[in-house]
Symmetry: C2
């Protein structure tokens, strides 16, 4: 079982957290349309200010039997949150389950596809 955990910062504004949850649902639909699906399940977690936490999100997947988790930082810049805080949260769980493979993917802002996306919005 291979799963994807989208990790956002988390906000005091609940509507912003809901945007992340809706995006997670969209990702799940997107994946379900693939045959075979790239991931069995997609979920989200928040670094702070909203549930679930990153460890809770990871443990949810592990208790469901996943053996491989990709953690995907939904962040635009490579600041301390991406370089230190998210890895530290992941390590809390990694150390408890050495047989589960957990990989942190590149953060959203590092994607070379961002330019194309921005220009699509700019001319819409």
């Amino acid at each position: 079982m291979r799963t994807l955990l989208l990790v956002a910062h988390g906000s005091r504004r609940e509507a912003s957290n809901d945007e992340v949850r809706q995006l997670t649902d969209q990702l799940q639909s997107y994946i379900n349309a693939d045959e075979p699906p790239l991931f069995d399940k997609v979920s989200c977690a928040f670094l702070e200010l909203a549930p679930p936490s990153i460890p809770d999100g990871l443990e949810y997947f592990i208790s469901a039997g996943t053996k491989e988790i990709i953690v995907l930082p939904y962040f635009l810049s490579a600041g301390r949150h991406v370089s230190e805080d998210i890895p530290a949260e992941v390590d809390k769980v990694r150390d408890k389950y050495p047989n589960v493979k957990i990989k942190i993917a590149d953060y959203l802002g590092s994607s070379s596809g961002i330019c194309h996306l921005l220009l699509s919005l700019a001319v819409k």
Copy 2:
């Protein structure tokens, strides 16, 4: 003359602001490759914490002779910054130059292309 202003939040961490400036350079290169180019010039501005401000970014374009500016919010969620603060900053300049057309595009997080980009990162 038609120009594009990428607007980010701005950070106390200068490397994060530099990421936005580098992305702006990438956008300019991307646009230059189009014939005819979608925009004559791309620049960036910051809502707070880093120069130039949104009014300064807009006035830079206007002093160079632009008649149409697209403001593109480089934000992931539709919070107060996107719904209130950026429009308020734009209005300061709009009121001074009624003959310049300034349009605020949809923010990055609203793009339906985000799913595809995230999955590309997840399987990289």
